[in-house]
Point group: C2
Chain length 408, copies 2
């Protein structure tokens, strides 16, 4: 089996041969801030195969509709993508659709590339895109396009909103002496919940992968990673994950099961690393909690329990307060209503039992307290009724989250 | 139609003829606090018909199981109820069941009444009831039983946990020259969500109503009231609403459709008033929001939308910050996934349009701001796709909530 590994110190799109990036300050927030990078442009040396995974929200932002339309065309190839932060272009009706299409068209015009650009927006809902600023921003970005590291970092910065840290992850592996790459950048921070988060993620690879295989690979990776994280339980209108393959390496995974497997693994690793970075940098998050639900009658049941517990305000606030309040865990698990039986219910903090067969293990109290005081810990709930399991990466809820979100 | 009215300045159980109450300080929290009332005992002059509505949580507290067992007996009559705050007797396994049964038996023993007592507990989950304190508390309460107002207020106070205010509501009406009463007391505060809240409510009436009609009346009233409030989305393990009818008036609603109708209306009014008091006194709530969802294809769909919006952290924090962020409302309505179509979607703050047919009514911004700055306001979401509607009474989410719940 081919060894796939995340690299240390990933630098974003530039890690992948054959792509150029730019990130510029376009003042999309219309606050006169000419320092803050808020528009990213990425293109490839040659048109790319591409796949996307999108929010399931009924209220879907205009750029999501535009991406879906582009990606649904047979034998479609894309030039790259253009993305802005500061304005979501969501709940903007027909004008929003026109603006998203125009944003894509401007990128084509300014770069002089014949294939269409995918388009993403993130930020405040319900405001019209400032198209003048979008236009001059894209022109500046087209001019700045480069395969250098700094341009790549600028693009990774330009998609951030309330994130406090840039999010890059790159996986590499070797096949027949050649090094192959899947590089990714992401933004997260708020409205983080499955299917998907208020998150954007962009992955690029130099492998030659057809659109169907790209889509299949991306869907599977998202289900295992981005769809298993939660910060505040709010699903966004704009969530988008794109995967672009420029084929520069000339290697075609579909020709080799071994190579395909390595490619899938690389995409999974990059998505997993980005998902973890998103939760770790969630708005005003102080703790990262790995919630493992086991012993359910199905994976669906386990997911219900994990989401009930992981999104419970009372559970999240108790984590914030380093209070090993397993009673709240049991309460939330109970209202998932998958037929939990108290006498068969176990809870562990890391490896320390809190509840075994419904009986509190009070003598371990000092150990539970030490565990929930850590920055990262694991809680395992076992219903002992079957083999269904689900792992959710979630977070605490702090006073600072409320303060941060009380106005925009 | 008989006119049913809530009375001003309700005093709890004592408003209803033929019942006695007591509330005593039993130090159930085991903190040596001999001032805080934490055990309530209520009995009737004669055995009562009774009905109960309980939490749907899989993790159901021991007293809930005991109440259900008592109420399931044919032609059952009860002596009254005993309730403690400070300890939920939930997730306490077999010992918890023994303790709840014993608590009920002690009430019988100390009052010398032959019929069983219903039993309720509220407070911290996962701790054994301090049975010595329960025992001496019930003995003191049995001694203090009285039909006087002070005893009634003491009982209403003894069931409170993090509530800041006593919650009483009484409805009265006249039939054939006779005044009839439905009196109620409740506790709420945290873990407030449908089916039901972490709430206890106790209603009494001097009408003669059979158990089946009591149950039917109570279920319908709860569905219209307690099951349509939400503070933090957490459903408790102990939620219980009891309705006791002592028949002292000698009037039998089942003999007269008009009387039955008035009785049902009285129960509904009392439940509605108590539900509203519960949300208004939710943990660290600063605003009460009446969320009305209309135009859905079914009531179930409307409920899904209402709960998605009413439980969204981002929506609740924006209310707290007096930010008329209708974009977050639209986002949350969208992830309820009932097939919302943006172009048919209207949002109003009180009577001021924010979104009409998916188009923002930005010129009203100053008015929206004024409305969400109020202590109480209404938001109407209309999907314009059918006639299904749902009203949810909900609240904002404050930093103080997080602070308050970060440890117990």
């Amino acid at each position: 089996m081919i060894q796939v590994q995340l690299i240390e110190n990933p630098q974003g799109i530039a890690d992948c041969p054959g792509f150029k990036s730019a990130g510029v300050a376009a003042d999309i927030r219309e606050k006169g801030d000419l320092q803050r990078l808020d528009l990213a442009l990425v293109t490839a040396e040659q048109p790319c195969n591409a796949a996307g995974v999108f929010t399931l929200n009924d209220v879907c932002a205009a750029p999501v509709h535009v991406c879906k339309a582009i990606l649904s065309q047979p034998n479609m190839k894309v030039a790259g993508f253009v993305a802005n932060s500061g304005n979501a272009n969501a709940a903007t009706a027909e004008q929003g659709m026109r603006d998203a299409k125009e944003m894509s068209a401007i990128a084509q015009l300014e770069t002089g590339i014949g294939s269409p650009f995918l388009v993403c927006s993130t930020g405040r809902i319900g405001r019209k895109l400032p198209m003048g600023k979008i236009k001059s921003g894209i022109a500046a970005a087209a001019h700045a396009l480069s395969s250098e590291t700094q341009a790549s970092l600028d693009a990774a910065d330009a998609i951030l909103t309330s994130d406090t840290r840039r999010k890059c992850a790159t996986a590499r592996f070797t096949y027949q002496g050649q090094t192959l790459t899947v590089a990714g950048i992401a933004k997260g921070a708020g409205m983080i919940e499955p299917n998907m988060a208020t998150m954007l993620a962009f992955l690029t690879t130099d492998l030659e992968v057809d659109n169907a295989a790209l889509k299949d690979t991306l869907v599977q990776a998202c289900n295992q990673t981005f769809n298993r994280i939660s910060i505040d339980g709010d699903m966004s209108t704009n969530d988008t994950v794109l995967l672009l393959a420029n084929g520069k390496s000339g290697l075609v995974p579909n020709d080799s099961p071994e190579l395909l497997q390595a490619f899938r693994e690389a995409v999974l690793q990059v998505c997993d690393a980005l998902a973890e970075k998103i939760v770790g940098d969630g708005e005003k998050v102080t703790k990262l909690v790995e919630l493992v639900v086991e012993g359910c009658q199905s994976e669906q049941d386990a997911e219900k329990v994990a989401r009930a517990v992981g999104n419970s305000l009372l559970v999240k606030t108790s984590w914030y307060g380093s209070d090993p309040n397993w009673g709240r865990l049991a309460d939330a698990a109970g209202y998932a209503r998958v037929g939990l039986k108290e006498a068969c219910f176990d809870i562990h903090y890391d490896d320390v039992p809190a509840l075994i067969g419904g009986l509190p293990q009070d003598s371990n109290l000092a150990q539970w307290k030490a565990i929930v005081s850590k920055k990262r810990f694991r809680i395992t709930l076992n219903l002992n009724q079957g083999s269904g399991s689900f792992r959710l990466l979630t977070s605490d809820l702090s006073e600072a989250y409320v303060d941060f979100n009380k106005s925009e």
